[in-house]
Amino acid sequence: MTPTARPVKVVVVGNGMAGARLVEDLLRRDPIAEVTVVGAEDRPAYNRVLLSDVLAGKRRDSEIDLAGPAAAVRRLGVRVTAVDRDAHTVTTDGGEVLPYDALVLATGSTAVVPPVHGIAGPSGTLLPGVFVFRTIDDCADIAAAAGRARKAVVVGGGLLGLEAARGLLRNGLQVDVVHGASHLMDVQLDALGGAVLRRAVEALGVHVHLGSKASLVTGTRAVTGVGLADGRHVDGDLVVLACGVRPETSLARVAGLDVDRGILVDDQLTTSDPDVFALGECAQHSGHVYGLVAPAWEQAAVLAEVLTGGDASYTGSRTVARLKAMDLEVAAMGEFAPGLEECGDGTEVLQFADPVRHVYKKIVVRHGVVVGAVLLGDLSTAGPVTQAFDRGTVLPADRLHLLFAGLRSGPPAEVQDSDVVCTCNAVTAGTLRTCGARTVAEAALAIRATTGCGTCTSSVAALLRKAAPTPELVRSTA
């Protein structure tokens, strides 16, 4: 594509982490591109990953802003209501018509509100005291309500639910978590991992109710609790819904683009209209709709290149889920289902559980490559394991290193005569053994060992001891 063939006017619908990142990448590559961003929230883009820190009071909301490039035009607090693909324009709820050469849909997703009795009034407004946890406004609302509340119920025991629970605990509330599946974080963990996590969560003071879905929200003017399908009732005057998200595809549907669960895109993030693109949580690529930031940013980098005339391709992302609550550490990636009984034919499963200390680790290796891992309670090998999962790098023959940090690889090597002991003076172990010295002082005098920086003194002393065994030792071995 020649430079003149590049889209001059780019309209990005959505000012979330995907849209904001795309604008940044785009203007870095092409500083003179005319970029207009339309964002529904009436504030600058912010880092949604840190929302639970804001809820927990660890960061002020101003500290999670994503400082975007000044060169973009921003329409904030504005919704796009229509797309005219023939005229290449979008229309906002304020009636503004924005022309585009390339349109990017980064509409993200919306929180799922389960259709249970009593959750919302006839107009669809949530019952007072019931909140979703999606935007920074939600966050502020929950924090304000937490100040007045006594007991919170979090509906949903996945990543977001547990982060919300942790944040509410830090606000001094009693917290219950209600989760329909048989174990927590069932999308990322096997049953044993979920059981260990439950112990860790309960140790923080959270009550966990598993195996039965919320079927009812009680309270008339304000919420009083959540009823479960099996008849249990959990009291609470604050309810946070963490029941997952749904790709926001309504604009794309109205515009007549191909939509499945998300807006369908190809390897260039192009929708069924060659001038319309989509990325982030609203997009569906090769059957996948990603709900994490890393894939959205990988897509942004590719799309920025595509929009500036490059020939980049997006081929999918490997995702790593992470529970971000300092005393609840979970990293989960890839396959977690195979059990120990499935080992063989190139599949290996490594597993370690210490439920009392809230530690659980499981690594799935197939044909020498990490294809899945769960690390819970001890992330000391998370860096190497994640990189091995991402890149298929060389694995230790001794697999224990994947589970535990700080292990020695094999027995300590015997010091060879050619090994340098005193680096400053290039004194080898052999020279030291044969120089006739019996003490460090004698070695210093004879061959300058230890006289440079002195950091080798203890190893020189040890070698001298070894070279000249004490009389007792000689007797005992005789």
Partner: protein
């Protein structure tokens, strides 16, 4: 072709026995010829000629010397010394002995011919970070005044330029350590990023040992568990090239845990709010994926730094020698600023300068964009001041020229300069993508090299000028803490050897500048003092007499009444508003990612017994006996998967070329990374493999990471 010339020359030089220099009279106080630690030593006469070395007690080396220092005198009497000029009388012919007059005439004619055809910029000058302050100053002046060329740069571009640019951007001033080295002894915590001082400047370790004794903690960031990392309380084993992500992650955690010095940020800095938002995007899980450092280690590092009463963040080449080296430095400065360290006694950010005069070498005008006193060549007032000292019209001073790598790439067939004078550097071994650079050097009409031995670069020259060694001339050096040191003139050089100052004077005279290039170092220094007066690196108050009396003078020393400035920034930073600047910086996507064809990360570096291109240390028997050859270090897991054994010879290749190296199996390195030391030439040359990709600001090449592969050799070749 280079190898054929080299063979020819060895025969020639070996017919001229090196006569030992004139005997010493008594003991001379001086400093080591190698690294920026500039260990104090004394030289006294050796019974059979040459000198005997002994360490001196001094605040930097504390009475220690490394093996390189102990054996430095061996080169004084080496049979490899050049003792007479050499001239190649026809292209492709051998280098043959010549008189100084002939050699200088040929050299000057070569420079003039190039300029006659291509104008002033058709000649280049390339200097080195090992040259004394006086020589560095004279090299810059020679280029701008005698040649009138803008094409001057030096090998320090490959060492200190990223740290220098980072320091200047953040603090308004670049002095490697803005505090004396002895401040390390009592630091509560030190974060050392990309430095292996235990091998590169061993006596430095005595300071870390003292620090440990006083209860201090050490954190080392390195892809290898080097001897330095092994001595640390915490080792963060990053993937090469990801220190920026690590620093942003550390800062993210510091914010997360409320360990930021809000009061300091408010009073002494600008730009924090943008940075706090930017590092918010580097949550630990993301940092783990990029760097390989696990979250618990990130948190431990930040807590150690924040809990200490005094703490330091120190960087070296491992962090800086990248195409994003400046941004990496800035990310670590951000961390230091957020923790409230720079400008407080006992704390701060600093970089560990590498080459002997890597500090002074970057201050006196041998850099393409610089005039003496660390002045900018584009600053009108600076040009007027320096032109005044030089007695020339400011309008005649050229503007900024090409940076080192760009300059070498442009030589000859590259469309740039057709002739070059090279001093104190061996780019055939030390330049990135060295095969390409060597081809450019070979395509010059006239290459003039001043050196003490027939380095690989001298071997392809048209004119070789034999120069004196450190002990055979006087001069000053500025060490890693910005302290100016006097090197004593201990003995006269052997044979027909002259100093670099004589070379410049001789050439200048032939180029129509009979005055202005004195050969007495003290006379040059007095001129340097005037030229630097009022500049950021102000040496005007320093005299040889003050140095002889043992005064510890850290620049700036703006008058003879000034005691110098051991600690910078205590009251204000050198920025217009006195505040240090935060910078938003982000880890870039790797420009040469590993893939199926090039699956390994290659990093390069040093070993304990050799220095730089090895031109000196490879000629010292005690050193080559102990460290005879380059090698490729790789992890046992990688060795197993490649099916190669310790000691086996393998082919290491990158997109630039290949090297043949013996395998050294070590679990001290990451399994996805291999390490090759860069002190060797020919088929063992690490820089055949490295990339010429440059940092956009400092023009630092990406020495510390590229994508590579290892292939087994047939059984015969592998032995």
């Amino acid at each position: 072709m280079a190898e054929r010339w080299f063979t020819t020359v060895v025969v020639v030089t070996s017919t001229i026995p090196a006569s030992p220099g004139a005997p010493l009279s008594g003991t001379t106080a001086t400093h080591c010829p190698y690294c920026a630690l500039q260990c104090a030593m004394s030289l006294s006469p050796a019974p059979g000629g040459g000198a005997v070395v002994a360490p001196r007690d001094f605040p930097t080396n504390l009475g220690g010397l490394c093996r390189k220092g102990w054996t430095s005198v061996d080169l004084l009497t080496s049979p490899d010394r050049l003792t007479t000029p050499l001239v190649r009388r026809r292209k492709g012919g051998p280098l043959l002995p010549a008189t100084w007059d002939e050699a200088l005439d040929v050299a000057a004619a070569g420079l003039r011919a190039a300029q006659a055809e291509g104008g002033p910029d058709a000649v280049a000058v390339f200097g080195g970070g090992g040259l004394t302050n006086e020589k560095a100053y004279a090299v810059g002046k020679f280029a701008r005044v005698a040649l009138g060329t803008s094409q001057v740069d030096y090998n320090g571009r490959w060492c200190m330029s990223s740290a220098a640019a980072g320091g200047n951007k953040a603090f308004g001033l670049d002095r490697g350590l803005p505090f004396p080295l002895t401040d390390l002894d009592s630091a509560g915590c030190i974060l050392l990023v990309g430095s292996n001082v235990a091998e590169t400047m061993p006596p430095f370790m005595a300071h870390l040992a003292k620090q440990k004794e006083s209860g201090g903690l050490l954190i080392v960031v390195d892809p290898r568990r080097t001897p330095t990392a092994a001595a640390a309380d915490l080792h963060l084993q990053t993937l090469p090239g990801t220190d920026l992500a690590l620093a942003n992650g550390l800062l993210h955690v510091a914010v997360d845990e409320g360990l930021i010095d809000v009061d300091y940020i408010d009073k002494r800095t600008t730009g924090w709010s943008e940075v706090v938002a930017a590092v918010g995007q580097w949550w630990p899980a993301r940092v783990e994926r990029v760097t390989g450092v696990s979250e618990p280690d990130l948190r431990a590092a930040v807590r150690m730094l924040a809990a200490a009463d005094t703490a330091m963040v120190l960087t070296a080449r491992g962090a800086e020698q990248h195409s994003h080296g400046v941004d990496t430095v800035l990310s670590l400065i951000n961390l230091a600023l957020a923790l409230g360290l720079p400008g407080l006694p006992g704390s701060g950010w600093g970089c560990l300068t590498g080459q002997g005069n890597g500090q002074g070498g970057r201050e006196h005008g041998q850099k393409a964009d610089q005039l003496p006193g660390y002045r900018s060549i584009t600053d009108t007032a600076a040009r007027a001041h320096v032109a005044g000292v030089w007695g020339v019209d400011p309008a005649t001073l050229p503007g900024p020229g090409r940076s080192a790598t760009e300059l070498l790439s442009a030589l000859g067939d590259g469309g740039g300069p057709r002739a070059m004078l090279l001093l104190g550097s061996n780019p055939v071994v030390s330049a990135p993508d060295a095969r390409h650079v060597t081809q450019r050097l070979e395509s010059l009409d006239c290459l003039i090299v001043a050196d003490l031995v027939l380095s690989e670069s001298a071997a392809i020259a048209d004119v070789v000028l034999p120069t004196a060694q450190w002990a055979e001339e006087g001069g000053t050096m500025t060490n890693l803490e910005g302290r100016v040191l006097l090197r004593g003139h201990a003995l006269t050089p052997p044979g027909d050897v002259r100093t670099d100052l004589h070379v410049l004077a001789g050439l200048a005279e032939r180029l129509g500048c009979p005055t202005g290039f004195p050969t007495d170092p003290e006379e040059v220094f007095d001129e340097l003092r005037r030229a630097s007066a009022g500049g950021p690196a102000d040496y005007s108050g320093i005299t040889y007499d003050r140095l002889r009396s043992g005064e510890a003078l850290h620049w700036p020393v703006p008058s003879e009444y000034s005691a110098g400035t051991p600690r910078l920034f205590l009251d204000r930073f050198a920025t217009p508003d006195g505040r240090a600047r935060f910078h938003v910086v982000d880890q870039p996507v790797p420009s040469e990612p590993v893939d199926a064809a090039w699956p390994l990360h290659l990093t390069t570096g040093r070993v304990a017994l050799h220095y730089q291109s090895g031109a000196q240390t490879r000629r010292i028997k005690a050193l080559t006996d102990a460290a005879p050859a380059a090698f490729v270090e790789l992890h046992p897991y990688l060795a197993e998967s490649l099916d190669v054994a310790d000691g086996e010879r393998v082919k290491v290749s990158t997109r630039r070329g290949e090297a043949f190296l013996r395998v050294r199996v070590s679990d001290a390195i990451r399994p996805d990374t291999v390490f090759v030391p860069f002190h060797w030439a020919g088929r063992q040359r690490a820089n055949t493999l490295t990339s010429r990709e440059l940092d956009p600001i400092s023009r630092m090449p990406s020495f510390k990471v590229c994508a590579a592969r290892i292939d087994r050799l047939a059984a015969e070749a592998a032995r």
